[in-house]
């Protein structure tokens, strides 16, 4: 039944007669377009156009549209057009096609590239301010919900807090311990490798102890948490937003901040210091192991030296930063989650932004704290 499409043409006086035949269907799309491209420039030369459809064995939207496009082109250049011999079963399709594509698409207005550049700079600076506003707004909403909960503690979703604590705290322990253990080991190995040249191999303990307790332990753990749990928060809240679950919550008279976000952030603020502590201990053990196997320093000596090298202050400096970092990660993750719009693409984009922004904020906070602790002499 289906056969390759053909387009015969004959000139009758000043009228061009086109005789399409065969299957004018999408299966022969490429061939049809070639036929069209051959004929269409000739349309303006003749005074009239007749299309005899009797030979067409199959027709679909694509074929009908090409026929219509031919006759429309001829009509636009002021010629008389007649489409004859349309089989009854295709008449409806031809009639329908005659009505479509009547609106000419508007071409975008030309823009001065200088102005466009300026506009984009303006828009991005405005959006930077908006980002800050979103952060502050979430912080405010959270404090508000926190205040409401402290006045009536029964309103706190305790089960939810525990569940989130299990998710972001307990289940994160193995990977956090492993990563920090390796980092501790690597620092110790590098320390021995370079310090030996100066005969200062024993100072590796100071290096590992201070670096891990003050900076690296909490920083590595916070970055891992931002990637592991922050992204999960954004994706969870984002897909809830997409499926109107958050709207459903607020129409039931519940505050989504109090029900969904507060428990998550409380869990994060509790979990991160604990993970940072575990991470620091694990990094110290990693350092100790490498010191023993690679540096030839027995665990007893390592512990004794560590005792001299670090004080409780170093530990405090590290662990005090953890809850603030957790708060920043939580606020960024949750507010980005609530900014997800309808599409799957926007969920992906928001999750990426959430992780990038929270890691940036964690490092910024770390810098801020470094200055602060230095100036108060800790």
């Amino acid at each position: 039944m289906s056969s390759a499409p053909l387009l015969d043409e004959t000139n009758r006086g000043e009228t061009l007669e086109l005789i399409p035949s065969g299957s004018w269907t999408a299966a022969y799309a490429a061939a049809l377009e070639r036929l069209f491209d051959v004929v269409s420039p000739r349309l303006s030369r003749s005074k009239g156009l007749t299309i005899d459809m009797a030979g067409v064995s199959e027709l679909d939207t694509l074929g009908a549209w090409l026929i219509e496009k031919l006759s429309r082109q001829a009509r636009d250049s002021g010629h008389a057009v007649a489409v004859v011999g349309v089989a009854e079963r295709y008449a409806g399709l031809i009639d329908d096609i005659r009505l479509v594509n009547r609106d000419k698409p508007k071409t975008a207005a030309w823009q001065n590239p200088m102005l466009a550049r300026l506009e984009s700079i303006g828009r991005s600076s405005l959006s930077a301010i908006q980002e800050a506003a979103v952060f502050v707004q979430m912080l405010g909403a959270l404090s508000n919900a926190g205040y409401a909960v402290t006045r009536r503690p029964r309103r706190l979703r305790f089960t939810s807090v525990i569940y989130q604590l299990y998710q972001v705290g307990w289940r994160a322990i193995p990977i956090m311990a492993l990563v920090t253990f390796l980092i501790g080991g690597i620092i110790a190995q590098q320390g021995f490798f370079f310090f030996r040249k100066f005969g200062a191999g024993s100072y590796v303990v100071d290096l590992v102890g201070i670096l891990v307790l003050r900076e690296l332990g909490v920083l590595i753990v916070a970055i891992m948490v931002a990637g592991r749990s922050g992204s999960a928060y954004t994706a969870e809240l984002g897909s809830m937003k997409m499926r109107e679950e958050i709207d459903a919550l607020s129409t039931m008279g519940l505050d989504p901040i109090e029900v969904l976000i507060l428990p998550r952030i409380i869990a994060l603020v509790c979990a991160l210091p604990m993970l940072a502590f575990i991470g620091a201990m694990s990094a110290l053990s990693g350092g100790g192991l490498v010191a023993w196997l690679y540096g030839g320093m027995s665990p007893l000596i390592f512990t004794a030296r560590l005792h001299d090298a670090v004080s409780i202050t170093h530990f405090e400096v590290g662990i005090l930063k953890a809850p603030f970092m957790a708060l920043a990660i939580g606020i960024v993750a949750c507010s980005e989650g609530l900014r997800v719009a309808g599409s799957a693409e926007s969920l992906g984009a928001r999750t990426t932004i959430s992780v990038v922004k929270s890691i940036f904020l964690v490092i910024l906070l770390d810098g801020g704290f470094a200055i602060f602790f230095a100036s108060i002499g800790m």
Binding site: T25, A26, A29, A30, E33, D60, T61, L62, W65, L66, K69, R89, Y90, G92, L93, D96, I97, L99, V100, N101, D103, P105, A341, G342, S343, A344, E345
Partner: protein
């Protein structure tokens, strides 16, 4: 059931069993859909209408039985089955929620099957896609919207335009009129009727809309207890003695919609 020559059938199902674990959803089901007809499938919620449709289009595995679509055996084993792959390009599917790609605009959604399936210039592709959008009753301006910005009815129309993008011979519609107001639903019925006439489509429609069943469907099949318990034109189904079919077509809501006493 009378066996018709299989080349006049769009879908031929024999002895189909679909089960999830212990629970048998489709139990030795036979069904024929003739070429060029609009078949409506009705059944209680949870009776397995969507399961049947998803099995036919290959989204769910069957336990036993044969399914032929356009004379080709659709089999889940053998990924390099070229015949079955060809059969998949000859059907269009409208999912219940539209299932539009959310990161593409409405027009790009309609262009997508054309872009993947055919070799066409960008200009012609856009024109054909716009034509489809207009045929389902949307304006070219709607084509620039993202799925999140479309209303429920518009989403269904775009979904239908996408299902029809390659002018398939067979279209599956999963509750095409659910969630539409009666006027929009009526328009949608007309649209399906018109498209079926002009394009010579076979339509397999899962629906609960009694008005649709009345006005659009050539035949109606009722699914209960995992089997087709009644099949035929509406007038015939009204006389069915099966208790569920009886309850369905003689319930309060059905009686309100019944057009003329003479037809019964």
């Amino acid at each position: 059931m009378v066996d018709i020559a299989s080349d006049s059938l769009a879908i031929r199902i024999r002895d189909l069993v679909v089960a999830f674990g212990e629970q048998i959803v489709i139990d030795h089901l036979d069904l024929d859909v003739r070429r060029g007809e609009i078949l409506g499938l009705v059944g209680a919620s949870g009776a397995g209408k969507s399961v049947l449709m998803r099995t036919i289009i290959g989204l769910l595995p069957k336990r036993s039985g044969d399914i032929e679509v356009m004379g080709v055996d659709i089999d889940d084993h053998g990924a390099d089955n070229a015949e079955a792959d060809n059969a998949k390009t000859c059907w269009g599917i409208l999912f219940q929620q539209g299932a539009l790609f959310s990161s593409l605009t409405a027009l790009q959604n309609v262009e997508f099957p054309i872009r993947e399936g055919l070799v066409l210039s960008a200009e012609l592709m856009k024109e054909v896609a716009t034509a489809k959008l207009e045929m389902v009753g949307l304006t070219p301006r709607d084509g620039d919207k993202l799925p999140a910005e479309l209303s429920g009815g518009m989403t269904k129309r775009v979904g239908l335009a996408r299902a029809l993008a390659l002018d398939p011979a067979l279209v599956f519609l999963d509750e095409p009129t659910s969630g539409l107001d009666p006027i929009a639903a009526g328009e949608f019925d007309d649209l399906i009727r018109t498209l079926q006439k002009t394009l010579g489509l076979t339509v397999f429609m899962v629906t609960h809309d009694l008005a649709s069943l009345n006005t659009v469907c050539d035949r109606v099949a009722a699914l209960a207890d995992g089997k087709i318990v009644a099949i035929g034109p509406m007038s015939q189904l009204r006389h069915s003695v099966h208790p569920w079919v009886k309850a369905y077509f003689h319930g309060k809501r059905s009686l309100m919609l019944q057009p003329k006493a003479s037809e019964i």
